[in-house]
Subunit: 332 residues, 2 copies
Amino acid sequence: MRQLLPALLSAVLLAALAMPIHAANAPSTTPEIRVGILLFDGVQIIDFAGPYEVFGAAGFGVVTVSHDAAAVTTAMGLQVVPDASFESAPPFDVLLVPGGDVGAAERDAKVIAFVQARAGSSRNVLSVCTGAFILAGAGLLDALEATTFTPRIAEFAQRYPAVRVVRDVRWSDTGKIITSAGLSSGIDAALHLVQRLRGVEQARSVALRLEYDWQPEGGFIRSLMADRYLAASGLEQAIAWPDDIAMRQQFAIGDEQHWRMRFDVTTATPADELLRRIGKGLDSLPEWTRQAGALRWSSQQEGRRVVLEVAAIPGASERAYVLELTLSVQPD
Amino acid sequence: MRQLLPALLSAVLLAALAMPIHAANAPSTTPEIRVGILLFDGVQIIDFAGPYEVFGAAGFGVVTVSHDAAAVTTAMGLQVVPDASFESAPPFDVLLVPGGDVGAAERDAKVIAFVQARAGSSRNVLSVCTGAFILAGAGLLDALEATTFTPRIAEFAQRYPAVRVVRDVRWSDTGKIITSAGLSSGIDAALHLVQRLRGVEQARSVALRLEYDWQPEGGFIRSLMADRYLAASGLEQAIAWPDDIAMRQQFAIGDEQHWRMRFDVTTATPADELLRRIGKGLDSLPEWTRQAGALRWSSQQEGRRVVLEVAAIPGASERAYVLELTLSVQPD
């Protein structure tokens, strides 16, 4: 003990490490709380890596689990080797279901059966991003408030009408089951769970250890941004797009009042004609009203007036130009 | 194209995805910018996973590299399979050096030679957390401003005197080389690099895609918290700790003005005697002055008055109690 002491105390006192000494570099062999992380081909890296880091820093044991424990390929290509298969996985207290390309996992009877069984034996279940689709597919979210990755909230509500889908939160805590919004939101939901299980001081210590700007009450809510007023419209289906069009998004940025999107467009259809087709599509949607003499439409949504403008910016040639959409939201 | 179009446009227009269509689910096979991530046993998960997610969402190609391309075991036990070995790694434009348990990597001549060679052929080099120790060990930070994981900043400055160590930033950009503070800071440093290479709109789009509360000018700076005023003292060495003491940190929390740490202590030495020993240690340090009649010391640092209080809280037995240290910082 004497030999180890200076190093340990140095690490603790001077460095002000946020975690228990026994968890400094490796998970405890007998952790009081164990987390099981579901892995599958297409899983999004940060969806499981963020919470893994949070739970590990809190001194929880973490075990990764897949169907057969063979290496999985994440959504961006990184290969990860799970610790255990569905059959060999040890008991755990928290089931973490990350998102990503969940389509196959959501339809995989073995995954659904595992999630149902382990949700039943776990104290808490936490989904990150589109992991909520897997929980919903397993029937675990019926009649509960839940959220998911912003771009897929509308689809989530449509496909799982028994779920009380919410979009104005970074995570939704229903008691046993917590669902978080997209990607980095999983870090906050994991910190929230550490707070519930260990207290706010330990959760804050973990956040400081991770040098993460934690907002315990929720923090940044991507799904409140102004593009929400486009999400439920049938705009893209209403437009007669040219058969040869290729669009590449330059950016999509904004805040709760404004949104701006630019796309590089390549098509034999000239810009004027594309704008005319988009206008015709918007004219066909009952919620949008054209402003006379302009490529500008307005819509009443949630007690606000939303204005959408469409413009084309000349490019290198008649076949390559830029399409810009802007949204502004005003109190009505 | 016609078959794919509705799905693509749905993803782009309605979901307002932040990334180019071609990068929606897999890295481009011919990315314009390729990032090489160094992996090694002991690497911290979030140090590479956060930037991997950022660069992937920006449409950059990402390749992970280790000495022999065999699976590496991260600091918390997760196993990751690199894409390439040092010999087989393709050319890349950005070298990312994550941190974690870097001791062995820092002393590994093959790692240092690889980092030196690839830093030379890369447009940018980015370290995360204690990855800065590897860059410094390779001589790449001499005469440059650099930062690292908050608890190891003092050690970093001591071991690498040729580096101009800074502690008041979330990341330090010296042009070619960027060093970031601990763990989650790597996400911000990666977004900063996307901004430099692609513009602020694309970086903002990526942050929104990740549902991350990005502060382009820097954001949360862990190293400014009040425990910095303890970091450089020789406190733990100055105290005659009991041979049998075991300390487990409950929490370490605070802000720029206050800091509070609690430890569960187990030792045959009673609390009164431990407080006396800690007091004697503090009395021996020239920068701390005892306030008469109290377990309270003050220190002048950086033009501020710092007050440290030490207290014990009775526990379950005489051999198990709680030690509390509090710091408060006042303008002087």
